[in-house]
Symmetry: D2
Subunit: 327 residues, 4 copies
């Protein structure tokens, strides 16, 4: 059996997502409760290499549960991709006696943790921190609920002005490979069409549906597109639609980075708190190199290498419902 | 086998909850899609008795998915408790040929539907519409997520002023028999103590924990109480605390009815849409007299009489986490 | 003296702005209170030409004070630019005996009202409805406060993610000829630089200030640009900055149409209510062909032709304050 | 002429209000820009007595412009009422060479500043920080706009549930002596009646208006009451109404302390920034012992003793408008 963990490091890495602070807070306080020392590692693996590592106490994480962003900052680290960088980074942990790591981030961040565990035997636990929701082994990822609510609130505003003008709005939301934000925000705002990377909805179908609506004088319409859709995002879609439906008064809005920020929703704070709490318990109980998730209302532990490889898949019957409800 | 349903009525009953409009919209549009006629019944069972029943089309539910409250209005009906009232109500359905019913509400509303199905053989489907979340057979109830986010946003504001003044705030949230709003909003706002009807946390424990905090000069504290806690809600708690901890600067806030209103969150719109959609499919497929829920990510159908009788139970390990994280 | 007004029409025209519904409500109810008949004209001058004119009562404007957009819809009308169109439009008013007009919109909408008053002697009153705030003769325009708060809330979210990543964000807000949204939202979010059409701030100054900040390791920076700034908006600025400051991690967000929608702020509802109320009083008291404004806390009436010609000018000392506060 | 100020102290005192942090930030950065030293005094005059005084630099006020509450904390100090306390406090300033003071707060806080200026010749400048808006010599007070928007958003939510149930809601907002929050939030939410300390509206008028409405079946009604109204706030009003209108379904909500917190609106951040900036300029230019206000769009300086003595008065014609618009 592995040696008990006594000092842990916590870091956030990759794209930031709302709720990361709640996860940091939970991990830090749970570790302190169990008598561990805790270190905050700044700017993800960059800070591990650059030795930006600071001891944390209970006050370090006071009054942050409601804040967007991450107090530990985040970054993508190129140097960490090669072994040299990782050795340097690991040496900084060893120097302080850090013998356990909590990593909050997405796929790329998990890969870093996996490397550390493989190359140096460092016990790692990963938390799913991404607004994209497409990670395997968990029903929730930290930040998705906030991001999708931000998108919904913005699209609600856009609908006000679309209604006032009888306009077609094409709204682009985040999601390079995953359509969850587009799908959920589109359904929740009554979008007429939703274009996501995972589905075959073609622009032709959108054109058909919109021209049918034009005929019956339904002129206020909303199309939600994931940035990663093959059409080239909202601008791509708009260009094609203008060619085929030149009479429609069309506007494009790209929501962009506002989807990453903001005070986290209750759900994101709650799952982040639970995950941070169970991350430390997991390290203590010797359940290492796993991603902590919540599946069917229970904590669920997926080996990191599987979490990296697999994707959460969209269910099937969504698109039929979209079509019926937006009619 | 039962005759196929051809005309359905939709009503909301009991306390309103955000997302009811999204459920109405989904039920109406799905029914129209399948060629059914749809009638809106106003003011719950009251309107069924008083014959406030109006035919609905697709436009009737346009632009409502984002609205709080319920366009069909709601009420509690005393007359419906006796058979006379129900006969009168049912006659109004028969008059129009309404042969299926979608009821959105809580426990009391389900009882009404159950009576109609038992006494007149009317096919009914119930949707869980309550901010209290304690219904059996579903992980989500329509309105809970919005209510708890409203509570969280309010408590965040209260914490601003608590911090500025080094005060103890006692905040009362809704929940006569169920502590879900208190529990989730309390964890999400870092409450020091959470008092809910289901748990044995005594005021003594709160006093102990607060006086320990007073000793180490942690003066900003937050206690979240469900209105149904045995101490008599926030005012009851405040009175006891003032006796035992007279040096604390204590304030009470009762959030009240703001928790029922507001534009629904993405999650509430989404589950309400799915439930409304599957309610109609359920009626069409002959799956009658059930409550439509979502359990472990899949639609789940609970016989109404069981949904009425059973309660969702809180998990166990929450309170330990509360204590550790608020330290 | 002119004949007393007995039947009025109300319309919204040009770009929509939050609070227009509050102004409609106030105008309608005040007119009804004084015994006038009121007609809603849909889609601005378009609907006047197409005869989309509907009688309104007190219920027509119930429950709209909190809604974004405009229940009367809005449009820009090309046909109204030529006399033929205006004659047709006026005939539709005459047909109903409409002898007074309340127009809510911006400069272009005022021009339409001015033409009607000049060509047909129709008593008109104009209300300043624009998110741009640059109208002459009023301290407030309906919609500005909401738009600028929407911008602020979005930029707050962007700052979360900018902070997490040490990034430079360039945010584009609305304002083709006027920098009010950029200036106010920029100051309110602590922007390092603000670029507006009215001021000479050159990109060179921005480069100088950012490279000075780069030297002292202040990497999180925010530049707010009005869409009408000579640099070509946020994308234009980003391109130039990337050339001169290649080490900065730069991102662009264009807030776009979300600034037009949303539930109006208290201030916008209040000034819209006052303006709508005084518009009708103004018509009744024979104060015609004026724009109703609020200047130095009192109602102020500017002849429409002057309101069309003049612009509100920015005060001087803002930019010095921006520089000092963002240091 | 007085000696030039070289070191200033900044404090917040009395009830906190959103935007105080923006004012602190502006005062600190403007002072640093002009080469002054700046000290933060914690917990108002309490901290001055207890010597909780900390030197501040530009980073001390980074990332606070958007935060509710006050980073300097606030308190009411009994000890400062007697000369002994003030001597002790002033000695702590002298010890550090602090020769100028910026006080952010309401009437009581101004009195403290006035005493210091009278007794010790300390140059003071006061900023109007109160959600009540009733201070003399300024159109804006820091926090009012945020508080009233919070009230409006809450009442909007309450209206959702009032509408769903055909209920009468009586909502109490803050304001012991001033009715501004009640008046503005009441108009902005279309309240049927508004009860404020300054006006003679009697409960009898409310009863008359509500029973007239009951007769014409308008059952959804909203009464907004300032806590300081002679009827005894919302509970007092409800009791009387229930006696006279027993058929109405009446509910009470007391908004309470949520009105003090929350991220400040654009307007509050802007005026707080301007006031903080001009407070320091005022100290430097020898304009001492004044309250910095904004009147008719220009900075306005009122001698503190006048600011303490006088009140802002409500305009007259508001109540007529309330009655007409809510009809």
């Amino acid at each position: 059996m592995s040696k008990p963990v006594t000092k842990i490091g916590v870091l956030t890495s990759g794209g930031d997502s709302p709720g990361m602070n709640a996860a940091i807070r939970a991990a830090v306080r749970t570790a302190l409760y169990y008598g561990l020392e805790v270190y905050g590692i700044y700017r993800g693996y960059n800070g591990m290499i650059e030795d930006e590592i600071v001891k944390m106490d209970s006050r370090s994480v006071a009054n942050i549960i409601q804040r967007g962003g991450t107090i530990l900052k985040t970054a993508r680290s190129k140097e960490f991709y090669n072994e040299e960088g990782r050795k340097k980074a690991y040496a900084n942990l060893v120097k302080r006696g850090i013998d356990g790591l909590v990593v909050i981030g997405g796929n790329g961040s998990f890969t870093g943790a996996y490397k550390l565990s493989q190359e140096f035997g460092l016990p790692c636990v990963a938390l799913p921190g991404t607004i994209d929701k497409d990670l395997y082994g968990t029903d929730f990822t930290i930040g998705f609920d906030t991001a999708v609510n931000t998108a919904v609130q913005c699209i609600d505003k856009i609908r006000d002005t679309a209604d006032a003008h009888d306009r077609l709005f094409i709204v682009e939301v985040m999601g390079r490979h995953a359509g969850y934000i587009a799908l959920h925000s589109g359904i929740a705002t009554g979008a007429e069409n939703i274009l996501i990377p995972e589905e075959e909805t073609t622009i032709e179908e959108v054109i058909t549906s919109l021209s049918e609506k034009e005929k019956r004088k339904k002129l206020v319409n909303l199309v939600v597109v994931a940035e990663g859709h093959s059409s080239g995002g909202a601008n791509g879609v708009a260009e094609i639609l203008k060619q085929h439906l030149p009479n429609l008064d069309t506007r494009v809005t790209i929501l962009g980075h506002i989807q990453r920020g903001g005070s986290p929703t209750c759900l994101d704070r709650l799952i982040a708190s639970r995950m941070g709490y169970h991350a430390v318990e997991s390290l203590l109980e010797g359940r290492h190199n796993v991603m902590v998730g919540i599946l069917n209302n229970a904590m669920h532990y997926t080996p990191i290498e599987i979490a990296i490889r697999e994707k959460q898949r969209l269910g099937d019957d969504w698109m039929k419902m979209v079509k019926i409800l937006a009619s």
